[in-house]
Amino acid sequence: MLAESLGLSAILFVIGVIGVLTRRNAIIIFLCVELMLNAVNLTFVALSRYYGMGGQVFVLFVMTVAAAEAAVGLAIIISIFRHKQTVDLRNINVMKG
């Protein structure tokens, strides 16, 4: 059971990484980040079966922080949209040195 759970978690995580790396739409990237977080959550839950309840407690923390992060992240994206009329990351490159 553990192997399958970890395998699913890995697949989800890699999908999330590839999404972050290849997509250009900020919303999609944001969703992919959430996907990676949830992949990690799945790992915590699966392993808590063998290593105690700590992993499940940690998942609750992650979900809380992820909710907060979603609120802040979406607010930023909306700000960017208002400013640039787009959420395409190719057009947002003001962070260069």
Binding site: V17, V20, L21, R24, L89, R90, I92, N93, V94, M95, K96, G97
Partner: protein, 731 residues
């Protein structure tokens, strides 16, 4: 506490408990004077502004008046000249502290005469430099030699300080001048009282500093400031020699105290390379301080300072420090015939060389400057041939008559300046071509300067006759029968070399008589070359200036009684100075002549003296016959010299040669190699700008990576994570 410590260390010395125990006050008085006058100078400076009439009268910013007192207290001058602030306090404190030192020195001298002093009286004050094997005390040493030097320094200084009251009376820097002069006397006393080479070196450097400050006293004029710098730098070159000699003495003998070094010189081989090298380095230091070849060049330029400075520092005291050092180190020089003969030869060549230059100088102070170099050469002949007393004897008489000559020249310049000021003339008040016939206006100065001229020329019974004669006799006699006469020097026999030295000395004596008579004729005799209006403004200088001149005139007259030769014993006690200095230099002097005192026959001595006197008289006669003061014209209308005359007037072009051979290459190296190559090229461009360029390059690469596209950053994070994870996984 000072008293207790010194008593504990030297309690059984005959001088302990006498007034000599207060000898530490000797330099303290001038030091106090320095602080008081310096403080007054700082206070008065704060008030020198555009509203100060003294500033508007500051004549020293234009070249023609480079060396003349600012204004004058008498004459028809109608300028509103304010005396400098606190002038009356300074006039009392400045000479007063020196007079106190002189009176104390006289009292100590009286105490010394009352007891038998065979060893130096040493007072330890505190541990100065205790480092490892090096233990240097701040300690004073009083012996017969120090005593003579202290009396000369304080005595002549007192007179010249009094002279300065008149000469510098209206200078805005009056207090500053006296504070420097006081500081000089302090360092000079430190130099002659020190009981070890290191403390002597402090005084040695200190007098150099004061010389620098006083030569460049009127520093607003660049010429004067440059002369000060030249004096300082040339002296530093010589000081390297003294420093190296000190290092070698300490490395080989383990001490720098005079008494300890004297006690342990026996550990070095007689005439060996070690002691010879030490002596030659010591002597190199002396050539700088005492203006001998090849480092004499600073002294003529140092005449840019006020004339009392020239009299005190550059004639009577500081420049004789080299002679003092050699006599003080006589236990070393008597160990090395080669070094001693070198000293004598350099002295003799310098004496003749400088005398030839003095013959064609027009600036009255330049004549005296080259004359000083020449007379210092005589002193080095004396100490070089092992006649240490004769060297000190000439040092003393020279302090009298050369001090007098400079002060007299100062009075003349003062009067010339006053006359030119009266008529608004901007000619050079120091050029003898502009003078003439000043005897009528300044009879006292005229008479005194003739005394000094006879003294320096060697006419009996004036002071210089006895001292110069004892030097030349010693050179002649030591050629025949002494350690030096038997030594070889650069492949030549010492006998021949010393006879050569004697001949050079005689030749220089002839020229001395010629150039001094020339100076007197051109300055005081013949028709006056000044305008009638200027002549009417010429007066004898005030009593503060003539007084010291007269005192020095008396000393120049009777100074010879300090050390009468055997042949003149009908005049009084013979050899007083010989006897007085015997505890210090007697042993080494006798060692020079293989332990026996030279007894020349009466006939030989008469012949030697006769020769010297004949030459002096001949010199004066030649000058009187050959020179026609009446045919001189003022400087502005004088034709240029040609041939040999020009070479002499241009001082053999030595300054130009040094400029081309030493100064210019150093400048070129400094500019092209050190500045443009090392500083700009390597340090600035390679190190400073180079490291900046590297940082900028790295930054450029970083800026290309940080392009603002978050996708690239994300790739970076992901790849980085993979790299880190794989490193941890496959480790």
């Amino acid at each position: 506490m000072i008293q207790a410590q010194s008593l504990a260390l030297s309690g059984n010395h005959p001088l302990a408990g006498t007034i000599a125990a207060w000898m530490w006050l000797l330099p303290v008085f001038p030091l106090l004077g320095f602080f008081v006058n310096g403080a007054l100078s700082l206070c008065s400076r704060a008030h020198i502004g555009p509203a100060d009439p003294g500033v508007s009268h500051d004549a020293h910013t234009d070249g023609a008046d480079a060396d003349a007192p600012a204004g004058h207290a008498h004459g028809a001058d109608s300028h509103g000249i304010a005396r400098p602030r606190f002038a009356s306090v300074v006039s009392i404190v400045g000479p007063g502290v020196i007079l106190l030192s002189f009176l104390l020195a006289t009292a100590i001298f009286a105490a010394m005469r009352g007891v038998t002093v065979s060893t130096p009286y040493i007072q330890h004050y505190w541990n100065w430099i205790p480092v490892g094997d090096l233990h240097l005390d701040f300690a004073f040493q009083l012996d017969q030699l120090s005593m003579v030097m202290v009396l000369i320094v304080t005595g002549v200084s007192t007179l010249i300080h009094v002279f300065s009251i008149g000469y510098m009376g209206d200078d805005p820097g009056y207090a500053r001048f006296f504070s420097y002069l006081n500081l000089f006397v302090f360092f000079m006393l430190l130099l002659v009282l020190a009981n070890n080479y290191a403390l002597l070196y402090v005084g040695w450097e200190g007098v150099s500093l004061c010389s620098y400050l006083l030569v460049g006293f009127w520093f607003l004029d660049k010429v004067n400031a440059d002369a000060g710098k030249k004096a300082f730098l040339v002296n530093r070159i010589g000081d390297v020699g003294l420093l190296l000699a000190m290092f070698m003495i300490f490395a080989n003998l383990g001490t720098l105290d005079f008494t300890a070094v004297a006690a342990s010189v026996g550990s070095m081989a007689f005439g060996g390379p070690l002691v010879t090298t030490i002596c030659l380095f010591l002597f190199f230091g002396c050539t700088g301080k005492s203006a001998q070849l090849p480092l004499y060049v600073w002294l003529p330029d140092a005449m840019a300072g006020p004339t009392p400075v020239s009299a005190l520092i550059h004639a009577a005291t500081m420049v004789t420090a080299g002679v003092y050092l050699i006599v003080r180190s006589s236990f070393l020089f008597s160990m090395s015939p080669i070094a001693s003969i070198t000293v004598a030869v350099v002295g003799a060549v310098t004496a003749l060389f400088a005398a030839t230059v003095a013959i064609k100088q027009w600036d009255i102070k330049k004549v005296l400057a080259y004359s000083t170099v020449s007379q210092l050469g005589y002193m080095f002949i004396g100490v070089g041939v092992g006649a240490y007393t004769a060297g000190i004897f000439h040092l003393a008489t020279h302090a009298f008559f050369k001090g007098l000559l400079f002060l007299g020249a100062g009075s003349v310049i003062y009067t010339m300046h006053a006359a030119y000021h009266h008529s608004g003339n901007h000619a050079d008040p120091q050029d003898m071509r502009n003078m003439g016939g000043m005897r009528k206006a300044m009879p006292v100065t005229w008479a005194m300067m003739w005394i000094a001229t006879f003294a320096i020329s060697g006419i009996p019974p004036f002071a210089g006759f006895f001292s110069k004669d004892s030097i030349l006799n010693a050179a002649y006699e030591h050629a025949g029968n002494s350690v030096l006469g038997g030594a070889t020097w650069l492949g030549m026999s010492g006998h021949a070399v010393l006879l050569g030295v004697y001949a050079l000395g005689l030749a220089a004596a002839l020229l001395t008589a010629v150039y001094m008579t020339r100076l007197m004729l051109y300055t005081f005799h013949g028709p006056s070359r000044a305008s009638a209006e200027e002549q009417s403004a010429m007066h004898e200088a005030p009593w503060t200036m003539t007084g010291p001149v007269v005192v020095l005139g008396v000393l120049s007259l009777i100074g010879g009684w300090l050390n009468l030769p055997a042949i003149a014993s009908f005049l009084g006690t013979r050899g007083s100075l010989d006897h007085w200095l015997d505890p210090v230099v007697g042993t080494v002097t006798r060692a020079m002549t293989n332990g026996v005192a030279i007894e020349t026959s009466h006939g030989t001595e008469l012949a030697l003296i006769g020769t010297a006197v004949a030459i002096a008289v001949a010199g004066i006669a030649i000058a009187i016959v050959m020179l026609k003061p009446g045919s001189l014209v003022i400087k502005a209308e004088s034709p240029d010299e040609h041939g040999l005359e020009k070479v002499l007037a241009e001082k053999y072009y030595v300054d130009e040669i040094y400029e081309a051979a030493i100064v210019h290459p150093i400048f070129a190296t400094a500019k092209n190699v050190l500045w443009r190559g090392l500083d700009v090229g390597i340090i600035d461009n390679l190190f400073v700008n180079g490291s900046a360029a590297v940082a900028r390059g790295i930054g450029w690469v970083g800026a290309r990576i940080q392009n603002g596209s978050t996708g690239v950053y994300a790739w970076g994070i992901a790849l980085g994570a993979i790299v880190i994870l794989s490193v941890f996984s496959f480790r």
